[in-house]
């Protein structure tokens, strides 16, 4: 697998290290000359100097045979264009873009740049995971595949409380994939019993959240919702 990484900042450099350690062929492109020389000391021929938004720079790096292009510069416009050109001009099958300013995420989506990864969003998800007072937490959204994984806390006396997995009235297109109880996770079987206080991970078609929440929210809350 051949990977091109645009941007040799902290993210790009460390990604390159990890991938090289896993025996992947990697080229990093860096447009700042001073930064390039620092990184070149370690990565040697695996880093090239140039502006990755320019076509000839991408071509020199061998974009025609790249299996994956990762754009992690500090500039959202650059990341959008690098990925757009990689995908639409050079037919690269896989792209990953970094979103520096979460407000720009809408532009990545508009132009079909997926997946677009925002550090701010990732940290927010972690906070929600650690502070589960929001009830439903979206852990992962695979937008192109139309799937998402959510986490729910089982409320005291809710519909699902004390029921076996097979008896819980879940909508088609959803599935319980794991249960966290007392800090330990397990994959439930059809006859596993769900208890209040469990954290349940479900995979589902987007849009089913409200129906699923009805089964797990405490009875009082679901009635008022």
């Amino acid at each position: 697998m051949y990977v091109i990484i645009a941007g040799a900042g902290k993210v790009g450099w460390n990604l390159a290290r990890e991938l090289i350690a896993k025996d992947r062929e990697v080229t990093v492109i860096e447009s700042d000359h001073n930064r390039f020389r620092v990184v070149e000391d370690e990565l040697e021929h695996a880093v090239q100097y140039g502006d990755a938004t320019e076509l000839w720079v991408l071509e020199r790096a061998g974009i025609e045979r790249a299996n994956l292009v990762i754009a992690v510069t500090g500039d959202d416009e650059d990341n959008i264009l690098i990925c757009q050109v990689a995908k639409e001009k050079y037919g690269c099958q896989r792209i990953v873009a970094r979103v520096n300013n979460p407000r720009n995420l809408q532009h990545f989506k508009l132009l079909g740049i997926q997946p677009a990864v925002s550090a701010t969003d990732l940290i927010l998800r972690l906070i929600e995971h650690e502070v589960p007072e929001y009830g439903l937490i979206q852990l992962l959204a695979l937008e192109e595949e139309h799937l998402e994984i959510i986490e729910l806390e089982v409320g005291e006396g809710c519909e699902a409380d004390g029921k076996r997995v097979q008896d819980i009235d879940l909508p088609d297109g959803s599935l319980i994939i794991s249960v966290l109880r007392g800090g330990v996770g397990f994959v439930p079987k059809a006859d596993s019993v769900i208890e209040a206080g469990d954290q349940v991970l479900l995979i589902l078609d987007p849009g089913l959240e409200a129906e699923i929440t009805l089964q797990f929210a405490p009875t009082g809350a679901s009635a008022s919702a």
Binding site: T53, E54, L55, W56, D75, D76, E77, D78, I80, L81, V85, E88, K89, R103, N104, Q106, H107, L110, L111
Partner: protein, 139 residues
């Protein structure tokens, strides 16, 4: 026509003034408030002459809406950054369905490719190359 120009540099401001003189409604957006000076005349400010000016970042949707992108007939992306121009031009075209989108791109390679993709690109570098060649290689 309603013309929205992003970037009030030499190109943006000159086109804005010409367009206003020609009787069009003109709105200019730039992140630098001082760039407004390029639009003023000796005796008349840009606003008194009938122009609009918004301070904002090119990628900020609220600013673009405030500047009137939703009712623009023509959108000109003329900031100093190629990448900014190409992204906002596509936002104007795909999200706001502006009928005529013109974008300045200094890099000839991308100007040519994005032109093929349906953007109206203007490449000053390519113009300079063609002119220089013509003059330098004249018999």
């Amino acid at each position: 026509m309603f013309i929205l120009i992003i970037g009030c540099g030499r190109v943006g401001s000159a086109v804005a003034r010409k367009a206003l003189e020609a009787g069009h409604e003109v709105s200019v957006l730039d992140r630098d408030p001082l760039s407004h000076e390029r639009l003023d005349r000796e005796q008349m400010t840009w606003e008194d002459a009938g122009g609009r000016f918004t301070v904002g970042a090119a990628l900020d949707i609220d600013g673009l809406i405030e500047a009137g992108i939703e009712r623009s007939d023509v959108f000109l992306a003329a900031t100093s950054g190629d990448n900014t121009n190409l992204v906002i031009a596509q936002i104007a075209q795909r999200r706001f369905k502006v009928p005529r989108v013109v974008v300045r791109v200094a890099d000839p390679g991308r100007a040519a490719w994005y032109q093929e993709q349906g953007l109206h690109t203007i490449c000053p570098t390519q113009v300079a190359i063609d002119q220089a060649q013509k003059v330098a290689l004249a018999p």
